[in-house]
Symmetry: C2
Subunit: 327 residues, 2 copies
């Protein structure tokens, strides 16, 4: 039994499933080159040397999760259970191994490697969106201090048959804003932040890095493309290179200037508009959503009383400290 | 500078304020009888012996928080900041000291003491709702394992000039449900759970204790009044005594049968309909909301991927284990 259940009091989805198997703590890192046989067969990889799949020689490698929350082999079934709603967790769970080097971190791997990871994000989104039963895909990247169980750098791709709660809220608010103003909410935020300047961390030709006005935790950071686009997959070659350089600088600033804190990065992008159900619910999504990256620094310090987040590092101060750390 | 800022991309409020003062770790517990001078003057107390305010002799005592997030002395100011919105954090932060006995815990204090705490919840809600600038009040109760800094049992009351995010979602969903069905969402949940029976933990004349269908974390528990009422303050004497007995049994089951886990209890009740602004936005709230208690057990184990909570203890299994622990 593994199912998505909807809490009718909050319209919120919860995955209920039996306890997953805990992978045995193998001596050797299964993500390192030469250990490819210790993972499920790869889904995709960048290989400059023409090496064979599931052998060493890759630069970035994508594998299915060993015990994924969402699976592509399952049927998509929507059912009522009395007054309640459930959906089978049909989707996908993948891991993007970012580099062959076990000791690489976001701060040390450099912009060239980061750029390859960014292209793999795009490739996986494009591929998964061909599956019309997938409605939403989240790419996340965690950084934890040394000592975490699996240190080899990786990102996670989780594709699901409903829309993520957080994205649904953003879609709703930005659509309401657009209908009222006929302007993109995020484009307006860009203009506002560039004129205020207090919360700006960094500006490149293609991206604004900013601490949001109502940051929920100290040092929360958003990276917004300056050119409007609802979907990450439309990233141009120049913008991708620019983003990789900027991320390298940002991760370096965190590591050298802020004591290498833990962080959670997530890619907020339009859901899968190839899905018919989604078209019925949301119509087209274009001028009314704006893809971006959100980074929650020190996620363990996010503090809330009821639904109210309490942030004791004002965003203007956080932006100043991030700017200083960047130098 | 201390202000509520609204995140326009999620319509979510965040309190931004400078770092609060950390109370010095006094040797003596400031909540114990005899140490009343070490706290701000009391707001209310139950005293059977006619003892003077701010002296020993109380059964339950309410004091202001030392460095509250929300203050009643501040003006209520709503302002635009460019495209953004902010509100001054006018409200109140109070602590309800539940018992004179430092070593009391929810599991050991017994139903008589718990009942007094429940009446104090009602008194504080009634009093605070006379203030029409207060829109919403949350009563919360944390239980942590021994070793937490302040062990003396207390609840927290936080009154704010906006509606809590979580309550807003519940109000919206339950109103939508009511408008469609002309039945209360929570009354329907009561009927559904009583007929399914799998997730029922305990039934008393006035309350149903249940693990919700889409529990977000293992052992999440809701306590729903069987008679419809939108506001906790309408609790009758019989129902109050019933609730105290049931909470005593529930807390005892957690402590003896589930290894005394940490938990967060919160009271979900209608917001302050005396507030004019709230009347404008929500009209009356009556048949379309249903007060209840929510208890998140093991809050540290709540696990989410994106907006999807992952719960690896199916609610039916959690309910069975809670029933067994109760015996």
């Amino acid at each position: 039994m593994s199912e998505l259940r909807k809490d009718p009091t909050r319209a919120q989805w919860v995955l209920v499933r039996p306890r997953g198997a805990v992978a045995p703590d193998a001596g050797d890192c299964p993500f390192c080159p030469g250990n490819e046989a210790g993972t499920p067969p790869e889904i995709a990889a960048y290989r400059k040397d023409g090496s064979a799949p599931n052998s060493a020689g890759w630069q970035v490698r994508v594998i299915p999760e060993i015990d994924p929350y969402f699976r592509v082999e399952w049927d998509l079934v929507r059912e009522g259970v009395g007054m309640y709603d459930k959906v089978s967790p049909r989707g996908a769970g993948e891991l993007i191994i970012e580099s062959p080097a076990h000791e690489d971190t976001p701060a040390t791997m450099g912009s060239e490697k980061l750029e390859r990871v960014l292209w793999m994000y795009r490739d996986r989104l494009e591929d998964l969106k061909r599956d019309t039963k997938i409605r939403d895909i989240l790419v996340t990247r965690r950084h934890r201090k040394a000592g975490a169980r699996l240190r080899h750098p990786y990102s996670r791709v989780t594709a699901i048959p409903v829309i993520y709660d957080d994205l649904r809220r953003e879609l709703r608010e930005s659509r309401e804003y657009y209908q009222y103003k006929r302007r993109c909410l995020f484009c307006d935020i860009l203009r506002q932040e560039l004129s205020d300047h207090d919360r700006v961390v960094h500006l490149t030709p293609f991206f604004l890095t900013v601490v949001p006005y109502a940051a929920r935790s100290p040092f929360e950071t958003w990276i917004l493309p300056r050119q409007h686009a609802c979907a990450y997959e439309t990233l141009s070659a120049e913008a991708g290179a620019d983003l990789a350089r900027l991320l390298s600088g940002y991760f370096g600033a965190l590591a050298s200037g802020l004591g290498d804190p833990a962080f959670d990065l997530s890619l907020h992008t339009a859901p899968n508009i190839n899905s018919k159900i989604l078209q019925g619910e949301w119509g087209t999504i274009n001028d009314d959503y704006h893809w971006h990256l959100e980074i929650v620094v020190h996620p363990e310090r996010a503090n809330r009383v009821g639904g109210i987040f309490i942030n004791e590092t004002p965003p203007e101060e956080a932006a100043r400290r991030l700017r200083e750390a960047w130098r």
